[in-house]
Symmetry: D3
Subunit: 316 residues, 6 copies
C-alpha cells in the first residue's frame, strides 16, 4: 500500500504547533503544503511534496472556526487522495461534533455521525481521535479508528502532585463513567454532581452533590472544559459542601472568549489541568492553567500505526 | 413510494405475540409468512401476501437465540426487498448488540455498528428501536431511526403506585444519566451505585452507594435486566444502607435461565417492573414481576410513521 | 415518496431573504427551523415542522462565510433525512466551489466534486443550481441536478434597454462560450479579452482585445463578478479600444469588501447588472448596480419539480 | 498492504480442528483469539495477537449452528478490520446458504447473495470457498473469490481404488453437470436419476434412472450429502436397476442427527466418501465413512494467495 | 415515488418491434426518444417526453450488436435518471452475458455479474428478465429482479400440437434441469445428451444419449438456440438412436449468420419453436420456424409491476 | 498493495500497437491475454499471466467501435480484479465520451460521468487520460485520475518548425482556452473562430474570425480532429481573411471514413499534426499528416505511477 520513507505529517491551519511538535517527536520534517482562502472565501489547498504511495497523516483538530477547519481538512484529504497518497489518516485530536451524537429531541441531526461520513467520503482511510465525548462515537466511523486517551497522562500528573485526601468528582451525570475510571486510576472515591431542573421553568436549575466531598481536595474530571461554567458552578457547590479545594481536569480545553479569565478567577479553583489538543492562545495563559503536552502520545501512536505495532499496547 | 392499503406487519419467530398485539392495536391482520429451518439448519422465509409497493414492518427483537433471530430478520428483509416492498421498516424492540458499542480494549468488534450495517445491507429503509443501551447507537445506523422510549410508561406506573418517599438509584455508573431522567420524571432524588475493583485482583469488587437512600423506597432503574445479578447486589447494598424496600425497573427483561427465580427470591426486592419487548416465558411469570405492555407504544409509532405524523410528538 | 401538502421550503442563515421571496412566489409559508452555533462554535439545526414524507427544499447559496454555510446546509440535510423527509432537494443558487473544478497543477483538490459528494453523503436526493462556472460541474453530482440559468432574464433586461449598437465581450478566455450564447440571444457580435502573461515573470500580464469594439456599447458578460478586478481591467482596455461605454453583467455578484465601491467608481462602467443569488448587503447598494430578482425563476423550478412538470421547458 | 510475517490464521468455533490442520500444513501457529457468548446470548470476539497490516485468514465453514457461526464470522471480520488488519480473507470451506440461490417461487429471499453481501459489509477483502452448490454463486460476491474444488482429490481416491467397471450417477438432475465432470475425470460413463412428482399431489414422487447402470459399480456424486435421503433412495433404485454396488461421494458431509447411522445401514451402499470441510462428530464415525482431508488443499491455497502465486494452477 | 399517468415504455434500437407490441398490449403509446450515434461513434440518447416522477420501462434485449446495445441501454437509463424519472425498470427480455456466470478457469471475468452491476450503477431501480441461462443470475443483481418464463407458453404450444409419444431431451448436461421442468409440464419422460471430450485432444468430442428416445418424437429443450450446432448434433444423434423426429424449442433464438438456414436444412428437425425476445430478421424466417410472441407476457408483467400486483401469480 | 516485479501492461483490441510501443519504452513484455467474441457476439477475456498482487495497467483508448471497446475494457478490468490484481489502472489515451459532459438540453445523459462510474464499478483503482475535451471531466471520476497532456510535445513540434509569423486560432469558441495555452507556449497571438446560427433556421451558420490572421501562418489548435469539417471550414475562412497558410493540430485524430482524404485535399491546409492516441489506419496515412508518438509520454507516466514518483513533474 505504501512505499518506504516513513510517515508524512501535514497540518492545516487549525493547530500547526501541534503538528510541529509531533514531527519533533517523530524526528521528521513537516510535509509542505499551502492552504489559504481565495477572495471569494473558498479554501484552497496545495500539497507541495510528492505523496504518491506514501503514508500520509493530516493533523487537524476541529477547533475555532470549527466548520472552516473541518472543510479545510476534507479538502486536504481530497487533495492527498487525488495526489495518489498510499494511505491517509486524519488525526483529529479534538473532535468537537462528538457532542451532537443522538436525536434526543425531534428533527435534530446526529452531526457526529455526519462528519464521520464526510471524512470517509473525502477519502480518509483511518482516523486517530483523542478522548471522545462518548466512546460510542468510534462506531460512527466506517473507517478504522484509533481512539487515544490522555487519562493516564492526567492521572499521573495528579499522582505525582500527591495532594493527600482527594475525591474525584464528575461535574455532570454524563461524565460519571469517565470520572469513575479516573478515580480508579488515582485510587480515590467518586462523587457526582447532578443538575436538576426545578418546576415547570426549565431555566431554573439546582445542583446536588451525590457523595461525600467534605474535607477533601476535589478533582473535577471531564473530557472537555468549554466555557468553564459547569466547572465554576461545581467549584462553588463543592465549597458549600466543605471541599478543601478544587482542581479542574480535562483532556480538551476550549475556553472561548474570556472563559480562561473567568475560570482562573474562581478562588477555590486551585488549578486547571488540560492538554494541548486544542491550541491555547497566548493571551489565555495563566499560572493556574497547566498544559500537559499531547504530542508524545499522538506521535507515538502515529509511529506505531505506520510500523504496524499495537496502539492498544500504549494503554496497558 | 407505497400504495394505499395501510401498513403490513410481519413477524419472525422471535416474538410473534408482540406482533399480534401490535396488529390488535392497529386493527389490522398480521401479514402471512412462513419461516423455518431446513434440516441443514439453514433458515428459510417465504412471504405469502403480495407486498409490492406496500409499507412493510418486520417485528423482530433480538432475543434468544440472538444470532439466529438476527439472521432470520435479515433474510426476511431480503425476501421483502426482492418482493418489491415499497418501504421496509425493521421494528426491533430490543436491540441486544447495542451493548457492544465501543472498542474499550484492543481488537474487539463494535458489533452494535456491524449489525446496523447488516440491516442496511439487507435492505431495510428504516428502523424502529426502543430504549437503546446508549442513545448514541442511533448514530450507528445509516438508515433512518425512530427510537421510542418506555420511560414515561414506567414512570407513570410508579407515580400511580404512590410509594411515598422514594429515591431513584442507578444500579451502575453507566446507568446514571438514564436514572437521572427517570428521577426527574418521578420527582425523586438520585443515588448511584459504583462498582470498584479492589487491588490487583480484578475479580474482587466492592460496591459504593453514592447518595442518600436511608429510610426511602429505592427504585433501581436501568435499560435492561439481564441475569439480574446487578439488581440483586444492588438490593443487598441498599438494604445495608437503610433503604426501606427496593423496586427494580427496566424496559427490557432478559432473565435467562433461572434469573427470574433468583430475582424474585430476594426478600427486599418488592417488585420487578419490565415491558414485554422481550418475551417472558410462562415459567418465569411471578406475582412480583409486572409486565407493562409495549404494543400500544410501538403500534402507535407504526401508525404515525405510516401516515407521516410526528413520532416525536408521542413523547412531548 | 411524499405525501400531499405541497413543497416545504427551509433556509439556513446564508440567504433567508431569497427563501422568503421564493415562498412569496409559491404562496407558501417558510418552514420553521432553528439554526445557531453553540458556544464551542458547533452549528446546531432543529427543524420545527413535521417533515415526514414531505417534499423538502433547503435554500442555501454558498456565500460568505462559505465553509460555514456549506456545513450548515449539510447538517440541515442530515436533520431532514433523520426526520424522515420524503425527498430532499438542496437549492444552491450560488455554488462557489464550482471554480475549483480540475487538477490544473499537481496535488490540488477538485473541491467542486468533493462538495457534490458531501451533499450526496449528507442525504440530499436532488440539487438545484443556477449558472455554474462550468456546466460540466453538473456531472460532479451523483444526485439528480437541475441547473437553471438567468441568461434569458439578463438578456431580456438588455434587450428592453435598447442600447443601439452593442458588442458582447467575454472578459476572459474562459467566459467566451457563455458570452457567445449571450451575444446570440441579444443579436450582437462577440469580442474576447485575452489575458497573457509576459516573459518569465508570471506576475506581469497584458490584455488583448480580440474582435472589434470601437464605437459600440460593450456588455461584459460572465457567470460571476467576484472582486470586480477583471471587469475593471476590461472596462479600461475597452475604453482604450474605443468602446462607447461598458456594462458589466453576471448572474452572481459576490463583491467582497469594497468591491462594489471600486466597480461603481469606474467612469466608463455605466451599470452593473446582477441577480440576487448572492445577498447584496445594504451598504453595497448603488444606483449603478441593478439587481434582477432570481426568486421567480427558482420558485417556478421548485413548483415544477414538485408537480412533476418539465423544468427544461422553462428555458425553451 | 500487508507487512511481512506470513499469513495469520484464525478460527471461530465452527471448525477449529480444520484451522489447526491448515496451520500444520503451513507450519505456522494458529492466531490467538477469544470467542464466546455473554449470558445475554450475544457473541463476543477478541483477537489477542496484533494484526496490524497483516494478512489475516479467518477459517469458518457455515456448519451447525449455521446462523450462529455466520454471525460469529462477521463479528470476527469486524474485529479484525477495526484492529487494522492489512487484508482479511474469509475462508469458508462449506458455504451452506449457496443452496438458496434463486427466486424459484414468489417472495423468497436469495440468501446466498445476502450472506455474500453481509461478508463484504463486515469488511472481508477476499473469500475462499470450496465446491459451491452452483458455481454461479461466485458471482454473488463483490469481494474477490477463490473457489477450490475437492473433485480431483475425490477422483484420485476412486482411481486408486480401481473398482473395475463403474458408472458415475448424478443423484439428482441438479447434480448432472458436476457428475459429468467427475465421470470424465474417472473415465466412466454417466447416468442420472430424475425425481418426478406424480399427478396433482406434489408429495408423491417417482425416481427414474436415465442411463445404464446394470452390472456396474455406481458412484453417486454430489456437492454435499445432507440427511442422505437422496443417496439412500438413489442406492435403492440403483439396486433395482441392477447396479453391483453403490458408493456415495461428495465434498461436504453434513449428516445431521442420525443421518450417518441411516446411511451406513443401507446394505448396498458400500462406502461414503467425503472431506472434512464440515466437522464429523466422533459419534458419527463408521468404517463405511471415509474422510479425505481438505487441509492440504485449503492450506496450499492460502499459501499461494499470500505469496501472490496462481491458485488456479493448483487445478490444472 | 411516481405520479399517476400509467407506465411509460421506451425502447432503444435493439428491438423496437417488441416494445411496440408491448405498448399494443398495454394500450399505451411508446415513449418518444431519439437515439443515434455521432460520427465519432458515440451513442447519444435524448428522451423527448417529460418523465419526471413517472414509472419508466426501457425495453432492450442484449442482441446483436451486444455491447453496443448494452451501452445504449445504460446511457438511456442515465438520461432517464437525470431527467428525474420516478422509477426506472430495465426490461431485458434476452440477457446474453448470463452465459458468462462463473470463473471456471483462471483469470476470466464473471461478465453476467459485471453487467448487472453496471445496470445498477447507471441508475435502474428494477430489472425484468426472461428465462436466464441459469436462475442464479438473478442473484447477480443488487436491484430487484422479476424473472419471467416462457416455459408455460412453449409447453402449451406442444400440448396443443398433440404429437403422441414424446420424450423431452436436454441437448446438453447443463440444460437438464430446465428440460426436466419442461418434461414435467408436458408429461413426458426425459433424456439427456452428454458431450464428452475424448483422450488428450480436447477438440474431439463424442455425444452420448442417456435415456430412451427410440420410436418417440424428441423435443430438444433449452434456454436459447445460438448457432444451432448443438441442436443439429443432437438431432443427428437422436436419429441414430431411433427417434421418430425432432423438435427444437427454446425461449431465445439468436441464429447468427446462416444459422437459421443450417437448422432448417436438417431433415429430421421438424420444427424450431422460439419466442421473439430476440428479433428474427425477415431473411431468417422459414416455415419450419415458429415464433411464439412474448409481448403479452412481458406486457402483463409491466402492468402488474406498475399496479403493484403479484407477478409470481402469472406463473401459478 | 502490490508485490515487486514491475508494472504489467495489457491491451484489448482497441489499440494494441500503442501498448506495444509503451512496453518498448518501459522495456517490459506485454502481458498475455486472450480477448475475442463468442458467436453470440459476447466479448470474452482471459488473462494468461498470473497477476496476483501485481500493478496492472490496461491500455484501451475508446476508439471505433467505441461502445465495444469500452465494454471490452470493463470486462478486462473485471477479469483482472477477480484474478486478484494488486492495483488496476485503466490507461485511456482517448476518452471519447468526454464530449457528452453536461445537460445542455432537457433529458439527455451525461455519458462522460456515466462511463467514469462504470469504470469505477468494474474495479479500476486509477485512470490515466490524455487531453480531455474539458479538464472538468477529471472530476467525473471517483477513482484517482492522472491527466497527461500532449500540448508541450505538439508545441515543440511547431517551435522546431520555425514558421515565422504565426497566429494560433481556436477553431471554435469551446477551444479558446486550450488555444490560448498553446499560443502562450509558442509565443504567438490568438484568434478565435465563432460559429453563429443565423435567423430562425438553426441549420444555417456563419463563421466569424475574431482577431487578426492576415499575412500569418495560422495554427488551428484543438483537442481532437474528428471528421475534420470544423478544420476545413476554418481553413476556408482563414484564407478569406488573408492567412498565409494553415496548420491543423490536435492531440486526437479520429478521422472516420474519408475524413483524412478530405482534410488532406484542402489546398491551404499545409499539414495536419496529431498524436497516435487513436490508431491511424494504413489507408489514411498521407504525407500531410504527421503523427507525434504518444508512447514515451504514457510510458513515462506509467513508470512514475508504478514507482511512486511525481507525474506532475513531467509537465513543469
Amino acid at each position: 500500500m505504501f512505499l518506504n520513507g516513513g510517515p508524512m505529517i501535514f497540518t492545516g491551519k487549525a493547530h500547526p504547533d501541534l503538528a510541529t511538535r509531533i514531527c519533533e517527536y517523530l524526528e521528521c520534517n513537516l510535509g509542505r503544503a499551502e492552504f489559504f482562502k481565495f477572495n471569494n472565501d473558498n479554501t484552497f489547498v496545495k500539497i507541495l511534496d510528492n505523496v504518491r504511495q506514501r503514508d500520509v497523516f493530516i493533523v487537524q483538530p476541529t477547533t475555532f472556526p470549527v466548520n472552516d477547519n473541518i472543510m479545510e481538512m476534507l479538502i486536504f484529504i481530497d487533495a492527498a487522495r487525488r495526489a495518489s497518497a498510499g494511505r491517509i489518516t486524519a488525526v483529529i485530536p479534538y473532535y468537537s461534533y462528538a457532542r451532537t451524537d443522538k436525536k434526543d429531541q425531534p428533527r435534530v441531526p446526529i452531526t457526529g455521525r455526519l462528519i464521520a461520513d464526510l471524512i470517509h467520503t473525502a477519502g480518509a482511510d483511518r482516523v486517530v481521535l483523542v478522548d471522545l465525548h462518548a466512546a460510542q462515537v468510534q462506531g460512527f466511523f466506517s473507517t478504522v479508528v484509533d481512539e487515544l486517551t490522555a487519562l493516564p497522562l492526567l492521572a499521573d500528573y495528579f499522582l505525582k502532585k500527591n495532594l493527600g485526601e482527594i475525591v474525584v468528582v464528575a461535574p455532570d451525570i454524563g461524565s460519571s463513567r469517565r470520572s469513575r475510571d479516573f478515580a480508579a486510576r488515582v485510587n480515590a472515591p467518586l462523587a457526582i454532581i447532578e443538575k436538576r431542573r426545578l418546576g415547570n421553568n426549565d431555566r431554573v436549575e439546582t445542583l446536588n452533590v451525590i457523595g461525600n466531598v467534605e474535607g477533601k481536595y476535589a478533582i473535577l474530571f471531564d473530557d472537555e472544559i468549554n466555557t468553564g461554567s459547569t466547572m465554576i458552578s461545581a467549584a462553588k457547590i463543592l465549597a458549600e459542601h466543605g471541599s478543601k479545594g478544587v482542581y479542574a481536569c480535562a483532556t480538551h480545553g476550549i475556553l472561548p472568549g474570556d472563559a480562561a479569565q473567568k475560570l482562573t478567577a474562581v478562588p477555590n479553583l486551585n488549578e486547571i489541568v488540560i492538554t494541548d489538543t486544542v491550541p491555547l492562545e497566548e493571551r489565555k495563559r495563566h499560572p493556574k492553567i497547566t498544559v500537559v503536552p499531547i504530542a508524545p502520545l499522538v506521535g507515538e501512536a502515529i509511529r506505531r500505526i505506520h510500523e504496524g505495532q499495537s496502539v492498544g499496547a500504549l494503554f496497558t
